[in-house]
């Protein structure tokens, strides 16, 4: 398949299920919203070594937030609900509660499959915390030095899909980076998906395993231009830089939509091929074929 004179490789991205939660964080001003969003989703690129994968889903206008202040929607993904509970509680406790003027609300329906966040953090109030019920939802007001931190008691969880991805193979680092930035811009703010890596772009794509027994993942040598002469390479001639866009979403559909938008935006001058990372179908049940998701958009 050719798209904007760029070859789309007949391959697939291999995604896997994770458990997801959505937090809507508000603050008095938008700069503080951006600060808390960046801090709360920091060090959360890959569950290979982080407690969770997290990112900014979208900025939320005051009219849409529960308390009428500027807000941001954050998505968190972990392997299971217990891990998610621990990760989100630590992040809300250490990164949101500590940030001036913030409040934190649940953004998914609460079912029996929920995690308790405010209900755990309330103990920081040392007996001075106050519970409020409104329309079947419980909120905790924890006294802090600039007033009080409001946090919802329970947060809903649901099965999500992590690891949607595509690779941008460029003639040069500059061309590949420009295409990656275009892809990120096309995906950002779409809702139901996040790009957990720095700026939405990965330069250290990985393969499963390593020659060192302790490592679960190591560099994706087939896509490293500097190893073309040493390892079995997957790069076409003329490729000098590769970037990966990794997408986590609340369902496979939004991940596919995001991949489609990102691939279309990245196909331009200086790009030689679009590929995808997979592990031969051994890692996850969600196989997202590039040709299939692009078919509905034409060529």
């Amino acid at each position: 398949m050719i798209l904007n004179e760029v070859e789309i490789e007949d391959t697939f991205a291999e995604a896997f299920p994770m458990t997801a939660a959505r937090c809507v964080v508000t603050a008095e001003t938008e700069p503080w919203v951006r600060t808390v969003a960046q801090v709360a989703t920091g060090y959360a690129t890959s569950v290979i070594s982080c407690d969770a994968e997290a990112g900014i889903e979208r900025m939320v206008a005051p009219e849409e937030t529960p308390d009428g202040r500027p807000g941001v929607s954050l998505l968190f993904f972990a392997f299971n609900r217990d891990a998610l509970q621990k990760a989100v509680m630590n992040r809300v406790g250490q990164c949101v509660m500590t940030c001036p003027t913030t409040a934190c609300y649940n953004g998914l329906p609460v079912t029996e499959k929920h995690i308790q966040i405010g209900g755990q953090l309330r103990f920081f109030g040392d007996g001075y915390q106050i519970s409020k019920w409104l329309s079947g939802r419980r909120y905790w007001r924890i006294p802090v030095m600039d007033g009080e931190f409001t946090c919802e008691d329970k947060f809903g969880t649901q099965k999500g899909v992590a690891g949607g991805n595509f690779l941008i193979l460029g003639e040069s680092q500059a061309a590949a980076l420009k295409a990656s930035e275009a892809a990120v811009a096309a995906i950002s703010g779409r809702g139901d998906v996040i790009l957990p890596f720095p700026g939405g772009v990965v330069r250290s794509g990985s393969k499963v395993g390593s020659r060192y027994r302790k490592l679960r993942a190591s560099t994706n040598d087939a896509f490293c231009p500097t190893l073309r002469g040493l390892a079995k390479s997957a790069l076409p001639e003329g490729t000098n830089a590769v970037y990966e866009i990794v997408i986590d979403g609340l369902a496979q559909g939004p991940v596919e939509e995001a991949m489609r938008a990102g691939i279309r935006a990245s196909c331009g001058p200086g790009i030689l091929r679009i590929s995808a990372g997979n592990y031969g179908g051994k890692l996850g049940p969600h196989l997202i074929r590039l040709h299939e998701i692009l078919k509905s958009e034409g060529r």
Binding site: T26, E28, P62, P66, D67, G68, R69, A103, I130, K132, W133, L134, S135, Y139, R141, D146, G147, E148, T150
Partner: protein
């Protein structure tokens, strides 16, 4: 179709009509409703003695038309459905209800929503004494649900309430939130004297102060201690929710700050009074 009950024979003697609730009326034919018993003073009577019963188009479970300010217990104990009183409602309307919606398009009498557990009462006019309160001798008033009043309410609003929300757009009388255990009372106007007397927990929020007008200031008991002036985000949650229920208090959500007082210090002191200031 909705059941329509039109008051045709207003009596100066109170009518106690606990049968006028969706739970009792649902599924009954017009003739069966007419035969339902009510208390008229010290005598037994039938619904048909006072009401013309029929059917009308609409989604409500039942609509009661007329000045029913002498008809007590309308919607008392109801658990579901929408009951509309197109006029005034007498004492104990919606008392002990545990679900559904009661809408009173006129005024409501004393003990409206007394000891209710869940559901929503919306009063377009004024409310009487002991709105959402506890009956005499009872330890706990309203335990859940929502009461919205577009006019004013009289004394002892939310007396001994444990949970739930009462929002009054206008003024409230003396002793709002007296002995309350928890819950929230939002008042668009000013309270009478001794607000929150004996309260243990819960929040009383007043929006009616006018800056620079000494006649329009909230006067609190000396057993309430000033804490700080700040903007608690949770108040905006309530204001936005009230807007969705079509009750707007005279303050935009998220604007202004609040003076916070802890009290009542003769009790645990874990209650709070918030006074909005522009």
């Amino acid at each position: 179709m909705s059941i329509l009950l039109r008051l045709r024979n207003a009596s100066p003697i109170p009518i106690e009509a606990e049968c006028l609730s969706p739970d009792r009326l649902e599924g009954l034919a017009v003739k069966e409703i007419e035969r339902l018993e009510v208390d008229h003073g010290n005598e037994r009577a039938r619904v048909a003695d006072f009401f013309e019963v029929g059917l009308r188009d609409g989604n409500e479970a039942a609509v009661i038309e007329g000045d029913c300010s002498r008809v007590k217990h309308i919607g008392a104990g109801m658990t579901r459905g929408l009951l509309v009183v197109d006029g005034n409602a007498g004492m104990h309307a919606g008392a002990e209800m545990s679900g559904g919606r009661l809408e009173v398009r006129g005024n409501a009498g004393d003990w409206t929503g007394a000891e209710m557990r869940a559901g929503r009462i919306h009063i377009r006019g004024d409310a009487g004494h002991l709105l959402g309160g506890a009956y005499r001798g009872s330890r706990t008033g309203m335990r859940g649900g929502v009461i919205l009043v577009e006019g004013s309410a009289r004394n002892e609003v939310g007396c001994s309430m444990r949970r739930g929300l009462i929002a009054v757009r206008g003024q409230v009388g003396d002793f709002p939130g007296v002995s309350m255990h928890a819950g929230n009372i939002l008042v668009g106007g000013l309270p009478g004297v001794r607000a929150g007397a004996g309260m243990r927990r819960g929040s009383l929020i007043f929006f009616g102060e006018t800056p620079g007008d000494s006649q329009r200031q909230v006067e609190l008991l000396p057993t309430f201690s000033y804490d700080c002036t700040y903007r608690p985000p949770f108040v905006s949650l309530y204001l936005k929710k009230l807007q969705s229920w079509k009750l707007s208090l005279p303050v935009p959500a998220g604007e202004g700050r609040y003076r916070r007082y802890s009290g009542d210090l003769v009790e645990s002191g874990k209650g709070e009074i918030l006074v909005w200031q522009a």
